[in-house]
């Protein structure tokens, strides 16, 4: 069952590539259909899951020589993320429906092609679109859909993997998939940003691999199995080696998350990526890093994690403040959201660090912190995914992300303004939205263990509130500088459900928390070993 959920998208992708001539519309609808079926399957998984512990476990031999298997399963930590993945990919598929024209490769032509129909300010660069582009369009739409379906499989795979090699396989493939999305369909400087993204995150993934090999060799008998390694706690009391392994794993995950100082790949990658790519990158791919912390780093290296918890907390707080302050200074809407991602992921890091600090003293606070971290991952996925899709709408209308190029959009596009306002408020953690639930839990959980850090991180919320309000004012209020079209049906249908979910989670969080809390408690006992 779980294998079907993981591999259904890629099977559809192969089918899409293999069938000869189909029109773009058919391709896009197939993509939506596949994503919808996927979401239904995930809902079935959620309903059928009776925790705690791993559900839908499958364990097959794969590379027995290194004790690595095809071992997958879901629990309270991974199931919510699997669900967010399915929701976001469906939103992207619906969003892509509305695109009548998809620029081919490298984005060199995208600016020019859109400028003809949009009132945006003139931009330098760009080549005249090549002739015969129409003939190749279905080809491009097809590869775009196939690439996203492939990415969906890969992201699902990371979340359900219970084997380090399998985890790494999917983790690495997510980089490859996203590279092609950015390089193939990004904006002007996409090739450069994509290369930077690939090199940086690939470095991270190799650091991760070194850490995994360290864990493998420390375990007796040697194994890559996550469940077995968690039980064994192989590096207990092995000072330097344990520290080195933890450093390798933390650096690998921190690059992916990303935290300060490993975040430099994120803003260019986001700015250059197409809207759907950004939504997935922020909404799902960043979670691969934070998920790694709760699935691998904490339970497998509990002692070392506790020893270094202070350092993790510091990194988290610095990410929170730095991300917020730099976001405040941005004039580019998409860059701004990218930096708020650094800020939001900082809360997660703060929470998991504080959990390491607390675990010996206060169980309840610890559970709260971990639950908050997972809720924050879910909430950030929904909200930031929506924000990036809205940024995509902005680009469609004006051909730029520059805040100063717009003004008074609310007059001509009320729905656009309304949804953006909701997303912005949700992102800054207003009560009633999922972000509030998450951040409230994180702060309550982290306060007993790290009061100073929590107080500092609290300032981050103030800054985020300021920057969102300022950006909203510039874009939507004031004198109408530009008249833009309101959201189309597909745009609304893709973005609005994400916000509805964020509100539902904010008002009725129980159904999520019931799932996460038992798993967080298990993690708590593991970390305090």
């Amino acid at each position: 069952m779980l294998s079907i959920v993981v591999f259904l998208p890629v099977a559809v992708a192969v089918a899409l590539l293999a069938v000869p001539r189909v029109s773009d519309a058919v391709v896009r609808w197939l993509w939506v259909a596949a994503s919808a079926v996927e979401l239904v399957l995930v809902v079935v998984l959620w309903v059928g899951y009776d925790g705690p512990g791993y559900g839908y476990e499958v364990n097959r031999r794969w590379i027995p020589s290194v004790s690595s298997g095809y071992h997958i399963g879901v629990d309270g930590l991974s199931l919510p993320l699997v669900a967010v993945t399915a929701v976001l990919f469906l939103a992207c598929a619906v969003y892509a429906l509305g695109r009548t024209e998809r620029p081919p490769a490298s984005g060199l032509t995208s600016t020019e092609a859109r400028r003809g129909t949009s009132p945006g300010p003139p931009r330098a660069g760009g080549k005249t679109p090549g002739t015969g582009r129409e003939a190749r369009q279905s080809n491009t739409a097809r590869s775009f859909a196939a690439l996203f379906l492939f990415l969906e499989t890969v992201c699902m795979g990371v979340f359900v993997s219970l084997d380090l090699v399998l985890f790494f396989v999917f983790f690495d493939l997510s980089i490859v998939g996203m590279y092609f999305v950015i390089a193939g369909w990004g904006h002007r400087n996409a090739a450069r940003a994509a290369l930077q993204f690939f090199l940086y995150t690939f470095l991270g993934s190799l650091a991760l691999l070194l850490g995994f090999i360290g864990l493998y060799l420390a375990a007796e008998p040697h194994t890559f199995d996550i469940v077995a390694l968690t039980e064994q706690n192989p590096l207990q009391g092995k000072g330097t080696v344990a520290t080195l392994v933890l450093v390798a794993i933390v650096v690998g995950l921190a690059i992916k998350t990303p935290t300060v100082p490993f975040h430099t790949w994120l803003p260019p990658a986001h700015t250059e990526a197409p809207a759907e790519g950004s939504a997935i990158l922020a909404g799902v791919l960043l979670k691969l890093g934070t998920y790694g912390f709760v699935r691998i780093a904490m339970p497998m290296l509990p002692g070392t994690w506790r020893d270094w918890a202070v350092a993790i907390i510091v990194v988290g707080v610095v990410s929170v403040l730095y991300g917020a302050l730099v976001a405040l200074a941005q004039r580019d809407f998409k860059r701004m959201i990218a930096y708020t991602s650094v800020n939001h992921m900082g809360y997660v890091i703060l929470a998991v660090g504080a959990a390491g600090l607390l675990s010996t003293s206060d169980d309840q606070a610890h559970d709260l912190a971990v639950t908050g971290a997972v809720t924050q991952m879910v909430s950030h996925g929904l909200i930031t995914g929506a924000l990036f899709l809205l940024a995509g709408v902005l680009w469609e209308r004006g051909g730029t992300y520059d805040l100063d190029a717009y003004g008074g959009i609310a007059a001509s596009a009320p729905r656009f303004a309304g949804l953006t306002a909701v997303a912005a408020f949700a992102s800054l953690g207003l009560p009633g939205f999922s972000g509030f639930i998450a951040e409230f839990q994180i702060f309550t959980g982290a306060l007993p263990g790290a009061p100073v850090a929590t107080a500092l991180a609290f300032l981050g919320i103030l800054v985020t509130a300021a920057l969102f309000l300022r950006a909203f004012q510039r874009l939507f209020l004031g004198e109408p500088a530009t008249s833009v079209g309101d959201l189309t049906v597909t745009e609304t249908l893709s973005i609005a459900p994400l916000m509805v979910l964020a509100v539902v989670l904010g008002l009725f969080p129980r159904f999520l928390l019931d799932l996460v809390e038992p798993a967080a408690r298990v993690l708590g006992t593991l970390v305090s070993r």
């Binding site: 794969w62 490769a105 090549g130 080809n139 590869s143 390089a183 690939f202 691999l209």
Partner: protein, 461 residues
Amino acid sequence: MNSEMSMAADLGRLLPEIILACTAVVGLLFGSFLPRRTQWPVRVLAAAGCVAGLVWTVVGGTGTVFAQTYTVDTATNAIRVAVLGSVLLVLVMTRLGGHARETEFVILLLLAALGAILLAGANDLVLLAAAYLLASVPLYALTGFAKDGPGTEATLKFYLLGALLGTTMLFGVMLVSGVGRGSDYPTLHHTLPGAPLAAVAVGAVAVLAGLVFKAGAVPGHFWVPDVTEGTQPAVGAIVTTIPKLGAVVAVYRLATLPPLNWPLLIAVLAAATMTLGNLAAFFQRDVRRLLAYSTISQVGYLLMAVAAAGASLALPSLLLYLAAYAVTNLGAFAVVCALPRARTLDDYAGLRAHRPWLAVCLAVCLLGLVGTPPTGVFAGKLTIFTATFDAGLGWLVVVAAVNTVASVFYYLRWLVPALRTSDEFPRPDRAASVAAYLAAPASVAVGVLAGPILALMAPAG
């Protein structure tokens, strides 16, 4: 067992090599009776010979033959399969339909393949020297096969370096056999620890020099880019794939001899090879030179497994990596062969738009060479890194990891133009495209089936 029976048994174990040699001889005679323009039957004969060799490798037994001068074990069998498979892929890849000297090409290829297999199986220094010559001389001829300027120049460089290092190797063979009172490895295993260390060291390093040349590792790597660029792409694929397969296993067998501090020497060579190969590949504009340097860096990763010879996983991981490397590298070369006129990276602009499947193959093979999962090279790298860690060479793993990240850069430099659009694009060669379509899935298959493959290789370790 009387001597005649053991002779028969020995010959039985050697049947794949014998089949290959006979196919070459029969093919040569057969080809000389065929009309100049229709020599494809020789190609079919060669393919049949390879298939027969593969079948016998699978069903045949193992053991040492001819007074322990030649080993037929898991490693030899694995190299037999890898080499014969590579030959089959090359036969698909090259289309010389109607070429007047097609027979010569096929026969030289078969002989070079035989040399590579003998290199892998040689358990005796003198046999190793003979295998070296058999693996080298046909390749000199193949390099100059087109009889054009660049090819001739490449041949000359190849030959001069080969002759120099070959002579060095012969000198080493003489020295080691002299102080070791024998040339076969079992004897040397007993005698070398008592022999003068300086003489053994000089001799062994001299032998290593020849093998390093065949493997295309530092410091015997200078020929690789020039030959790959100067000769035809198909020959480039052959010289960077087939002899390496045998040479690396030969280095492995040599490295298990006492009493030198081999692991450190090999580890330094490995680190130097991967680093130099990667650095030189960085700003290449010619795809063949880029691939040539990439093959050098790949040997660096392979030598890691040799350096880690003490670990139980070392030999299985080496063989897995060799097989994965062979198929992935041939896949990348097949794409180059399919587009013989696209010489620079920019010439690949428009590949995705016009030939999407070829672009997918190129992406799979290049990312495969990086070691992206789930391709075979990933499984090889994973196991080699593990083995090297296990052998206590953690620093080498870190060097290799950094190199892997660096290598992403130049492989992507090739993929980026391939993603770009262009209005015109040359028609790819059909045969070579087919080879690419075969190689790319195979390289993924090696990774997915890494478990069973490693299980097959395990008895050797």
